[in-house]
Amino acid sequence: MSIFDFLKPKKNTAQTAKNRLQIIIAQERSSQGAPDYLPLLRREILEVIRKYVPVDADAVKVDVVKDGEHDVLDISVSLPERAAPAGA
């Protein structure tokens, strides 16, 4: 405790906690109720794509989204710029 403590900016860790929670909970809610096979499906798709194109681990996104009555499997793959064939 120093007499100059009042000059330091007050750190608000509660706000940090709230921000972190909002992000992680939104993420977890979106994957809630999703089929359990999604992570494995994602990994296998990634392996297949990597046979042909070198992509990053986070290049494949697999989600189940609701479209009216139907569930739609939404797979998106972002390819690197100027994709070169693997092993070329």
Binding site: K10, K11, N12, T13, A14, Q15, A17, K18, R20, L21, Q22, I24, I25, E28, R29, Q32, G33
Partner: protein, 270 residues
């Protein structure tokens, strides 16, 4: 028609058993016939908090396995005639509870004229916690204003909305309420603790009650008297408010604001 209330949280050590004991006692004090059941098989503790640990002869699992009747296993509270405790078994067998067995005990209690059945859930999201919430009409989700507790509560809210009898049979939702425990208005004021509004916003739920951080809770558990019986205690009074709200009464929140000290009390202390 008995109302089944699960007291749950996901995370351990946030005050589920303390809250179960106080809620059950508060309901009984209002003239209701109440049974409070410990679902934490293997780690029995509700009996200690209720102060009846030396009177446990038969437990929940004995009843489910037909080794004792419900009447034999229900422990009548010494303070309130309409309050009964059903202790958890100390067995290490994880499969001791079955869905059919739990359903039968709950039905027998309802047929016996109980108004409320309070289910004290174990921590975690395994079988005991699942069975404690499965038959619930209402859920009291106990949360500490702290990141891991809030996150786990969100998980539990997700399970309440999908893995309960009401959800499976599309028989209306399990009504979920937040019970914020160990709340410190001073730390919220300092920006060190999530506020009531923060937790409500993150979880998207209204608060049933806010129990202030209090040494009285430990004193109450030392004595085996639910803290709601301590009329002097802020925590006890806050539990009484929460029980009143659970029964539909409107009460303003207390002990959630920092008490502003006047000039003289600042000067002279107190």
């Amino acid at each position: 028609m008995a109302e089944i209330i699960v007291v749950t949280s996901g995370k351990g050590g946030v005050g589920k058993t303390t809250s179960s004991a106080s809620i059950a006692t508060g309901l009984a004090r209002r003239g209701k016939k109440v049974a409070v059941i410990d679902f934490d098989v293997g780690l029995r503790n509700l009996d200690l908090i209720m102060g009846c640990e030396r009177r446990v002869v038969y437990d929940f699992v004995n009843v489910i396995h037909g080794e004792a009747s419900l009447k034999q296993a229900l422990i009548k509270d010494k303070r309130y005639d309409s309050l009964y405790v059903l202790a958890a078994s100390q067995t290490r067998d994880k499969d001791a509870l079955t869905k059919e067995g739990v359903e039968k005990v709950l039905k027998d209690l309802a047929d016996d004229g109980f108004d409320y059945i309070v289910c004290d859930s174990p921590a975690g999201i395994e079988k005991g916690a699942f069975l404690a919430m499965y038959f619930a009409d209402k859920a009291v989700v106990v949360v500490n204003p702290e990141v891991s507790s809030v996150r786990d509560s969100d998980r539990i809210l997700g399970l309440l909305a999908s893995k309960t009898r009401r959800a499976e049979q599309s028989d209306g939702d399990v009504t979920a309420y937040l019970l914020l425990t160990r709340y410190s208005p001073q730390r919220v004021e300092n920006g060190e603790m999530l506020s009531i509004a923060d937790v409500e916003e993150v979880l998207g739920l209204k608060t049933l009650g806010v129990i202030p951080e209090s040494g009285d809770v430990l004193n109450a558990s030392n004595k085996g008297e639910p803290v709601i019986m301590d009329a002097e205690s802020h925590a006890g009074q806050a539990y009484d408010d929460a029980v009143a709200r659970l029964m539909g009464e409107e009460r303003p929140m207390r002990f959630t604001q920092l008490e502003k000290k006047g000039f003289f009390s600042k000067l002279f202390g107190g």
